[in-house]
Symmetry: C2
Subunit: 313 residues, 2 copies
């Protein structure tokens, strides 16, 4: 088939690539997952293979691909198409846009994965004003989208609320500080604090909490109050209208959403000011496996180059 205009988006996570093909109407017409691999060489090879496989499965030619976008953790230089310090991928420095273009003949744009997911979430959820995408995964970070544009701030740390300390007596964070929001509601920090074997430690914590395990009850409370603290930080500083919770911890399903709302309600109970913000009504949690990150990457890939802003629409 020719004449189609397909945008490809790839969310390159620490273990998996999630790839989608998006048509002119913003519909996802194909999706696949494959391993990310380790190190510069494997990551590029798997991205290239993901695009080829996606084209074969969804029935389009590489010539139909108008653009490709990649959301990837680490420091991204969007103008140069380069990613730095993606430690979970074994990538120190990678000229990803240039290398992928050489292999596929398709224009690539690269974006930080959380920022790409924020754009995807805003569009998929139809949020036209201001919103934050709160990513609860191994780590915790947010991306902010205002009027359909990723908001970067001055030096790229907009939305890095995972490393705000909210408890001087809290747990040590991987960043070196104490009591960061990430120590409360990051999957990695919760797994370390739990310290018991299991493939899905945060789910194990919630299950054990429901059976009355005291350690699990405390960690479950941390998870929910961490999500609540992140929401407050985003609203009381950037004043986003909505907070959309996504990331790997959405695998917890409705327990995560209900717990975060309940924490927001409980912690606002003593404060007329906080109650007036109605934060429990301003959050929503994405379904598990929602393709916001890959979809957002497809939007990023199709956006015009801009040093500060990626716009959509």
């Amino acid at each position: 088939m020719t004449g189609r205009r397909i945008r490809v988006g790839l969310d390159v996570g620490g273990t998996k690539i999630d790839a989608v093909a998006v048509d002119d109407a913003d519909e996802i017409i194909g999706r696949l997952r494959r391993e990310s691999g380790w190190g510069e060489h494997e990551v590029v090879a798997n991205i290239v293979a993901a695009v080829r496989d996606l084209a074969a499965e969804a029935g389009f030619a590489l010539d139909d691909v108008e653009s490709a976008g990649v959301g990837i953790p680490g420091l991204v230089d969007a103008d140069a198409g380069r990613v730095l310090h993606a430690v979970n991928l074994g990538v120190e420095s990678l000229d990803l846009a240039v290398l992928a273009h050489e292999r596929l003949g398709v224009d690539f744009r690269i974006e930080n994965d959380v920022k790409a997911a924020a754009l995807g979430a805003a569009v998929l959820r139809g949020i036209t004003g201001s919103m934050a995408f709160l990513n609860l995964g191994t780590g915790v970070a947010a991306g902010i989208v205002i009027d359909g544009r990723i908001w970067r701030g001055s030096r790229g740390t907009a939305g890095e609320i995972g490393h705000l300390s909210v408890d001087p007596n809290g747990r040590l964070c991987g960043c070196g500080q104490v009591g960061c929001i990430e120590t409360l509601c990051g999957g990695g920090a919760l797994a370390r604090a739990w310290g018991r074997p299991g493939a899905l430690p945060v789910r194990d914590i919630l299950d054990a909490a429901e059976l009355g395990d005291a350690d699990a009850v405390a960690l479950r409370a941390d998870l929910f109050r961490g999500a609540a603290a992140a929401t407050r930080a985003l609203v009381l500083s950037a004043d986003v209208d909505r907070v959309v919770i996504g990331g790997g911890l959405t695998a917890l399903g409705s327990r995560l959403d209900a717990g975060a709302r309940e924490a927001l309600r409980r912690e606002a109970a003593s404060s007329a000011f906080m109650r007036s913000l109605r934060l429990d009504e301003r959050i929503e949690t994405l379904p598990a496996g929602s393709p916001v990150a890959a979809f957002g990457a497809a939007l990023v890939g199709a956006a015009e180059s801009s040093k500060e802003i990626v716009s959509h629409g």
Copy 2:
């Protein structure tokens, strides 16, 4: 004199009005202070008198006044020119723009005082990118200015970082929460925690701390770590490039600036990520008595009406 184009700005605080007259070149050509008064009637009368006295002192006619702006605490409906719940002024609801216009024949615009001060600080300090004005007064709040525009957020709570809790075991805040940033570095909260008589309690705390008083040493540390926490919250969420500290506590002079910088350095010592942000180099403290709030009100007064944005220049 006729043909001059004067903008008047008034910062209406809990006790004093600070009024300035600004010429075409953004120069302050006159300034006076008088009592704010109590209740709707007195506040309007004193604002009107301040404009008349300023004109007489600085040698311009009311006909020369192009616009007037008022920065005032409380909830401001800028479009309606109305202020609500300015509890420190005994004002419940006041149609200030209409009433002041009736008395003086000058167009008035009303703005929240911290937001007006933020705009004034950005222009007076020549900050063209993004900045936050961190007001350390009786309470704690910030205003954010990006590219010369006040940034409101979705519901007017952008910059309300005073009520972010950073310590679940901290002091009770007037807002009903525990451990808010305002409990650490708000002048009112520090005075209550100090609990000893004196007209300038925060200065008394610093003086006593230098003499080794243990309570004072602890409260001094709270002041500085509160200012540091506010700075981190603003940078890790909105990612403003600069944080300008203003408000009544700038009367503490270089001790405030040095203490906040030292707290930022010390608290970043354990974290490569936080050190990379160089927050201690991104703050500055205004001199005591700086007219940023009144100057910013003059800029607000001259801005075109806009529901969401007040632009300058």
